[in-house]
């Protein structure tokens, strides 16, 4: 979405409070709470496979949030990539190595407090940035969809095409790096 459209939208709805209570907003908050809860359980549970499955709930909840924000395309891509592929890979890795049924008391890296600190700092920074940037912006749910595939595609390939290409180069570098790392190990074994 372009900046002018944003400010126009903001001007239109400037009379609204920070949080009004319409049905969609209540649902958004409830789904957000479920997502947060699932995410917390993911990192605190002692059962490894359960953690991966709670991650499915958290990622799925995030997809529902995208849907409620009218970003339909992003929501389906979220399900396709994260729930359908990343979690399956995670489960595959767990099953291949160590996935006992029941608790794993040794599943603790000892970095609990450092991790909590980093997570808290990252969450605070992100929330601050998002609230600061979008404080008075409202999505018009009755008008034309603002997160449809067409709109997302046009924004991505017109306004943000350079970062998009930079990202794809980054991913390619990661891919090549992974191949190099895995091949070198094999040669050492020989």
């Amino acid at each position: 979405m372009t900046g002018t459209a944003l400010s126009a939208l903001a001007a239109e709805h400037v009379s609204r409070g920070f949080l009004s209570t319409s049905g969609v907003e209540i649902v958004f908050l409830l789904v957000g709470l479920v997502t947060l809860g699932a995410a917390v359980v993911t990192v605190t549970t002692r059962q490894l496979v359960h953690a991966a499955l709670w991650l499915v709930v958290a990622l799925g909840g995030l997809a529902v949030e995208y849907l409620l924000l009218t970003a339909e395309f992003i929501a389906w891509v979220q399900v396709l990539i994260y729930v359908g592929s990343v979690v399956v890979l995670l489960l595959f890795g767990l099953m291949l190595t160590k996935a006992p049924i029941g608790r794993s008391p040794d599943a603790d890296s000892g970095n609990r407090w450092a991790a909590l600190g980093v997570a808290g700092a990252a969450a605070a920074a992100l929330v601050w940035v998002v609230v600061d940037a979008f404080r008075t912006t409202w999505i018009d749910l009755d008008g034309a969809p603002q997160g449809s595939t067409k709109v997302s595609g046009e924004i991505l390939f017109r306004h943000w095409v350079l970062p998009f290409e930079a990202l794809s180069v980054l991913l390619l570098a990661a891919l090549v790096g992974a191949i190099v790392l895995s091949r070198r190990k094999k040669e050492e074994e020989r």
């Binding site: 496979v49 499955l53 389906w76 399900v79 359908g84 489960l91 049924i101």
Partner: protein, 322 residues
């Protein structure tokens, strides 16, 4: 408002009825087609005429059986798995258009992404079942399921992307609207790749290593009994309906036909879907099972290059005809 609600309820009801009836029709067809191809009778007694009631009898049998959960199993995940395997196919069926105009359960803007994303969730059901059963054969089945996903997901997405490029939209009704007869030869390679990858997703022969009965009993579903086992079977047959319906919509022009496209469009969709379902059964009777590594090789050295070539061809033709 009330007519809107009625409309939604009717659509959901229609999709639900399709979801319950079509998999059974395909299951019965499989009984009969396999029997004929293998030169045997098949079930002939239940219900009188050619054993038409055999599936009903099977259903009653499943409902009567005791629902057993192994003592060492992870109870909740074990019991949740069949639902996770089955529900995605019901959701996907909602988005497949059967006729022109508004004949679809729920029009989804990014239809292709929706169906592929939601179908991918079904794999989680097999993984959960395989892990939670506390059985080595089940775990092996789950592992094979996950390994299989690495093989089929990319070619399937690439083949679907080719059609989306050709039509210039990712909405399923939009793709069928843009269809012309010459798309069939143009997109045939993508269609074959999509269908093959779909067979691997459904774990149907020749890609049924995750449930290979002669090696690992019944893979992830070994420990299941009664209705929960029936739900996994239903998921397999509902998967055939969904895969054949999607191939019809994406590659064979859905409701377009030589005649009667206005009123009888849904019949064309149904006919093409059923012909493809017959092919799925035919392949089961014809081909031996591949090994897991053979599937990986097939996917990464044949299917993905073919799908990429199809995307290149689609791009070139698209630019030329514009």
């Amino acid at each position: 408002m009330s007519s809107d609600t009625l409309d939604v309820v009717l659509r959901l009801l229609a999709v639900f009825v399709c979801f319950l009836v079509l998999p059974l029709v395909i299951g019965q067809t499989e009984h009969k087609v396999m029997a004929h191809m293998q030169g045997r009778l098949g079930p002939m007694y239940a219900g009188g005429f050619h054993g038409w009631a055999q599936l009903v009898a099977d259903g009653v049998k499943f409902a009567q059986k005791e629902d057993v959960v192994p003592a060492d199993a992870d109870r909740r995940i074990f019991q949740l798995a069949p639902a996770v395997a089955l529900l995605p196919y019901l959701l996907v069926l909602l988005a497949i258009p059967v006729g022109p105009g508004n004949a679809v359960g729920q029009a989804v803007d990014a239809g292709i992404f929706f169906v592929l994303a939601v179908m991918g969730v079904g794999v989680l059901g097999s993984l959960m079942a395989g892990w939670a059963s506390a059985n080595k054969f089940s775990l092996l089945g789950g592992l094979r399921t996950a390994a299989q996903l690495l093989a089929y997901e990319l070619p399937m997405l690439l083949a679907a992307a080719s059609v989306a490029m050709a039509a210039g939209t990712v909405s399923l009704p939009g793709i069928v609207d843009a269809f012309h007869w010459w798309w069939v030869p143009w997109q045939i390679v993508g269609g074959v790749v999509f269908f093959t990858a779909g067979l691997a997703e459904l774990q149907r022969p020749p890609f049924d290593m995750p449930v290979a009965d002669s090696e690992i009993i019944f893979g992830a579903y070994t420990e299941y009994t009664g209705l929960r086992f029936a739900m996994f079977l239903l998921a397999e047959y509902a998967g055939i309906v969904v895969l054949c319906g999607l191939t019809t919509v994406l590659f064979l022009g859905g409701w377009h036909g030589p005649f009667g496209a206005d009123g009888l469009g849904w019949l064309w969709t149904l006919l093409k879907t059923l012909v493809l379902a017959f092919v799925v059964i035919w392949l089961r009777v014809t081909y031996p099972r591949l090994r897991e590594d053979q599937l990986q090789k097939l996917a990464w050295t044949v299917l993905i290059p073919l799908a990429l070539a199809q995307i290149a061809l689609t791009g070139v033709v698209k630019v030329v005809i514009q």
